[in-house]
C-alpha cells in the first residue's frame, strides 16, 4: 500500500518537474520570437572572425539596440549549427561545399555572404637562415608534400641567391583541428600545385603526408618555436600580433610582398570575379596584381533567407559589411572589403526576408 503510494508520489513529482521544465522552455521561446523589433541574434562559427565580431557586437548593440551573441566554436560547427537552425547565423572561413549547401537548404534556402577579409601566413623557425626567407607556392607545396626536406634544397636556394642556408631538416607543422587557415592554405597550394591538389586537396581538415599536427594557432606557433627547422601556417592577425618570423611568399606578379592588411587588400582589389553563392577565391591572382598577398581569404556569414529574425539579420549584416563595421578591421589585421564585394554582399542581403 505504502509502496504504491510512494511510487505514485514520485511519479507525480517527476511529472511536476517535467511540466515545469516544459513550461519554462516554451515560455522563453515564445518571449524570444514575440519580442518585436529587437530580438537578439545568436550566431556561431569561425574563430578567425571572433575578434572582429566582439567589436561589432558592442558597437552594433549601441547603434541598434539589437544584441548579438556569438559562439566561436569553429567554422565546421557554425555550418552545422546553421544547418540545423539552432542559431540565427553561421560563420565560416571556408565557403560551403555543394553538399553542405544541399543540407543547409533542407529547411529553407540559405545565403552565403562574404563579410570579412584576412590572410593566412606561413611562419618558420630555422636557426642560421636569413630573416624574410623567400619562398613560392611550388616550394611550399613541395615542403608540405614532403618532397623538399632540407632548408638548403636547391629550390629554396634558387629563390634566395647569396643567402647561407643551413642543411636543417624541414619539419612542416599543420593544424590538427579543423581550421579556416588550413582551408586558405590548402586552397592556395592546390591552386599552384596540381600534385598537391590530387594528393592532399582543399578543405578545413586535410591529411598532410608528413609533419607535425598541433592544436589551434597557439599550438602551431608553439610547435614551430620548439622545433628548429619547422615551418607552419597561422592566421595573419595571430602571426602579426605575436611577431612570428614569416617567410615572404612570391605572388603572381613575381614580387615578395610583406604579409599585412595592405597586401591582403591589394589581393582582394585584384579579384573582381564573384562566383556562385558569392564565393570568392583569392588563390589565383592575375599577374597584374601588384603588391598582392597570395594567401588571402574571405570569411563568410551563412544566413537563412527566411526566418523570424530576418529584419534584425539584414540590419546586422548591412552594418558589418558597411563602413562602420569594416572600420574596425585594420586594427585587428582584417582588410576592408573592396567595393565590388560590398555591393555583392548588399545585393545578397536584400534577398533576406523575401
Amino acid at each position: 500500500m505504502s509502496k504504491r503510494l510512494l511510487s505514485a508520489l514520485i511519479a507525480a513529482l517527476a511529472l511536476a518537474v517535467g511540466v515545469a521544465a516544459c513550461g519554462s522552455s516554451s515560455d522563453s521561446s515564445s518571449s524570444g520570437s514575440g519580442g518585436g523589433s529587437n530580438s537578439p541574434l545568436v550566431g556561431a562559427g569561425s574563430t578567425l572572425v571572433a575578434p572582429l565580431m566582439s567589436k561589432w557586437q558592442s558597437d552594433f548593440a549601441s547603434k541598434s539596440e539589437i544584441t548579438v551573441t556569438y559562439g566561436a566554436i569553429g567554422s565546421g560547427g557554425g555550418i552545422e549549427q546553421i544547418t540545423s537552425r539552432t542559431v540565427d547565423f553561421g560563420a565560416s572561413d571556408a565557403p560551403l561545399t555543394e553538399e553542405q549547401f544541399e543540407e543547409a537548404d533542407e529547411q529553407g534556402e540559405v545565403e552565403q555572404i562574404p563579410w570579412a577579409l584576412s590572410g593566412t601566413v606561413p611562419a618558420y623557425n630555422v636557426s642560421g637562415a636569413p630573416k624574410g626567407l623567400k619562398l613560392n607556392g611550388e616550394v611550399l607545396a613541395g615542403i608540405f608534400l614532403g618532397d623538399i626536406t632540407s632548408w638548403d634544397d636547391p629550390a629554396i636556394a634558387k629563390l634566395n641567391p647569396g643567402a647561407s642556408l643551413p642543411s636543417t631538416k624541414i619539419t612542416p607543422v599543420y593544424r590538427s583541428d579543423g581550421s579556416g587557415d588550413t582551408y586558405a592554405f590548402t586552397n592556395y597550394l592546390s591552386t599552384v600545385s596540381p600534385e598537391f591538389k590530387s594528393k592532399v586537396g582543399t578543405s578545413t581538415q586535410v591529411k598532410f603526408p608528413t609533419g607535425i599536427g598541433a592544436e589551434k594557432n597557439d599550438g602551431v606557433a608553439a610547435a614551430i618555436g620548439q622545433t628548429d627547422g619547422a615551418i607552419g601556417y597561422v592566421g595573419l592577425a595571430y602571426a602579426l600580433s605575436n611577431e612570428l618570423s614569416m617567410p615572404l611568399v612570391e605572388n603572381s606578379a613575381g614580387e615578395f610582398p610583406e604579409p599585412g592588411v595592405k597586401s591582403v587588400e591589394a589581393a582582394a582589389d585584384a579579384v573582381t570575379k564573384i562566383g556562385p553563392n558569392n564565393e570568392i577565391s583569392l588563390a589565383e591572382l592575375p599577374s597584374s596584381a601588384k603588391g598582392a598577398y597570395p594567401i588571402s581569404t574571405y570569411t563568410y556569414v551563412i544566413v537563412p533567407l527566411e526566418s523570424e529574425k530576418a529584419d534584425e539579420m539584414k540590419k546586422f549584416i548591412t552594418y558589418a559589411v558597411g563602413p562602420d563595421g569594416q572600420a574596425y578591421g585594420p586594427d585587428l589585421d582584417f582588410a576592408p572589403l573592396p567595393k565590388q564585394v560590398v555591393a555583392a554582399a548588399k545585393q545578397a542581403v536584400a534577398k533576406i526576408g523575401g
Binding site: S2, S176, D177, T202, I212, G213, G219, A222
Partner: protein, 333 residues
C-alpha cells in the same frame, strides 16, 4: 526515558508514521538515483551509436582495420588511432605501474612516519594538475627533452628495433605515453598504497620473526597479499590513459596512419575525437562518433577484465582485501 517516550501515544504514532514513510522513501530515492546513473550510461551509448550510424553503415566492421583518415577523400578508419591508443597506454603502464608500486612500498614500509603523509599528499596533487597544463608542459619542456636527449639515446642503444628507429621528434607516441604515465602514476600509487596498508601487521611481524629482511618481507608478504589490488590499480591507471584526450592531442602530433617508430607522430582515439569533433560534419562527424563507440567498448572491456582479475584474486589469495572500496575511493579523486 525510552519507555516513557514509547508509552506516549502521540509520540508512538509519530514514530510509526516516520517508519512507514521514511523506509520506502529512502528506498525509492536511492533507487531513483541508481536508475538515473544507469539511464545516463544507456542514453550515452545510444546517442553515440545513433551519431555513428552513417559511418557504421558506410564502413562496417572494416573501419577497425582501415589504416587511413582523410577528410578530403572521405576515407576514414580507426586503425591508426586504435594502434596509438594501445601503444601509448601500454607504454604508460609499463612505466607507471612499477614506479607507483615502488612509491607505495616506500610510503607504507620504508619512509619515516613524519614524511609519509606530506609525500602522499603531494603525489595525490599530481593528479590535480589540469591535463591541458600537462600538455603544454609536454610541448614546451618534455617534448624537446625527448627529442634532444632520450630519443637519441634510445636510438643509440636499441636502434636496431624498428620502434626505436627513425628521426627523433618532440611530438610522438613516446612523448604522449610519458605524459600519460605521469597522469596514471598518482592514481595507481594512491590505490596500491591503500592496499598495502591493509596487509595485516601480524603477517608482517611473523615474517620478520622468521628472519626475513625488509625486502624479503615485502616480496613474500606485502606483494602477494596485495596482488589483486595492484592489478586493479593498474587497470584503473590504464582506464585513465585510454580516455585521456586533451594532453595527448597536444603532444602526439596528429598523424593519420600507423607508424611503427615510437619517435613518430601519431594519434589516439580520444585525441582524434577531441581535436576534430567540433569542426566536422557529415560522414567525418559520424566516423568520429564511431571512434567514440570503439573507445566506449574498449573501456568497458578493460573494466570487465579488471573486475574478473580482481575477483579471481580474492578467491585465490584468501583474505579479503577491500579493493573495490579502494578503487571507488581512487575514482572519486
Amino acid at each position: 526515558m525510552e519507555a516513557g517516550a514509547l508509552s506516549n501515544p502521540v509520540l508512538r504514532a509519530r514514530r510509526n508514521l516516520t517508519d512507514r514513510i521514511g523506509e520506502p522513501l529512502l528506498r525509492g530515492l536511492s533507487g531513483l538515483a541508481a536508475a538515473l546513473a544507469v539511464a545516463a550510461l544507456v542514453g550515452i551509448a545510444y546517442e553515440v551509436i545513433d551519431l555513428a550510424r552513417p559511418a557504421i553503415s558506410e564502413f562496417g566492421i572494416g573501419f577497425l582495420t582501415t589504416n587511413d583518415w582523410n577528410p578530403v577523400s572521405k576515407d576514414f578508419g580507426a586503425a591508426p588511432f586504435l594502434y596509438g591508443t594501445v601503444v601509448t597506454s601500454l607504454i604508460a603502464l609499463v612505466i607507471a605501474a612499477p614506479l607507483s608500486i615502488a612509491i607505495s612500498i616506500y610510503l607504507t614500509e620504508l619512509a619515516p612516519l613524519r614524511i609519509r603523509r606530506p609525500v602522499a599528499t603531494l603525489i595525490d596533487m599530481l593528479a590535480a594538475i589540469p591535463t591541458v597544463i600537462l600538455g603544454l608542459w609536454g610541448i614546451l619542456v618534455l617534448g624537446p627533452f625527448m627529442r634532444d636527449t632520450i630519443q637519441p639515446a634510445l636510438n643509440d642503444v636499441l636502434g636496431f628495433l624498428p620502434i626505436f628507429s627513425g628521426d627523433p621528434s618532440a611530438f610522438s607516441y613516446l612523448t604522449a605515453a610519458l605524459i600519460l604515465a605521469i597522469m596514471a602514476t598518482p592514481i595507481i600509487t594512491s590505490v596500491t598504497r591503500e592496499v598495502f596498508e591493509t596487509v595485516p601487521g601480524d603477517l608482517k611481524e611473523a615474517s620478520y620473526a622468521l628472519g626475513a629482511t625488509r625486502w624479503e618481507m615485502v616480496r613474500q608478504v606485502v606483494l602477494p597479499y596485495s596482488r589483486p589490488g595492484i592489478v586493479g590499480a593498474t587497470i584503473l591507471g590504464l582506464g585513465r590513459a585510454i580516455g585521456e584526450a586533451i594532453a595527448v592531442a597536444q603532444v602526439i602530433g596528429a598523424a593519420y596512419t600507423i607508424h611503427l617508430s615510437l619517435f613518430h607522430t601519431g594519434g589516439t582515439l580520444a585525441a582524434q575525437i577531441a581535436s576534430q569533433f567540433q569542426n566536422s560534419a557529415g560522414l567525418q562527424k559520424a566516423s568520429l562518433a564511431y571512434l567514440g563507440l570503439i573507445l566506449l567498448v574498449f573501456a568497458v572491456i578493460v573494466n570487465v577484465v579488471a573486475r574478473i582479475i580482481v575477483q579471481r584474486g580474492h578467491i585465490k589469495d584468501g583474505p579479503d582485501v577491500d579493493v573495490d572500496a579502494a578503487l571507488t575511493e581512487a575514482q572519486a579523486l
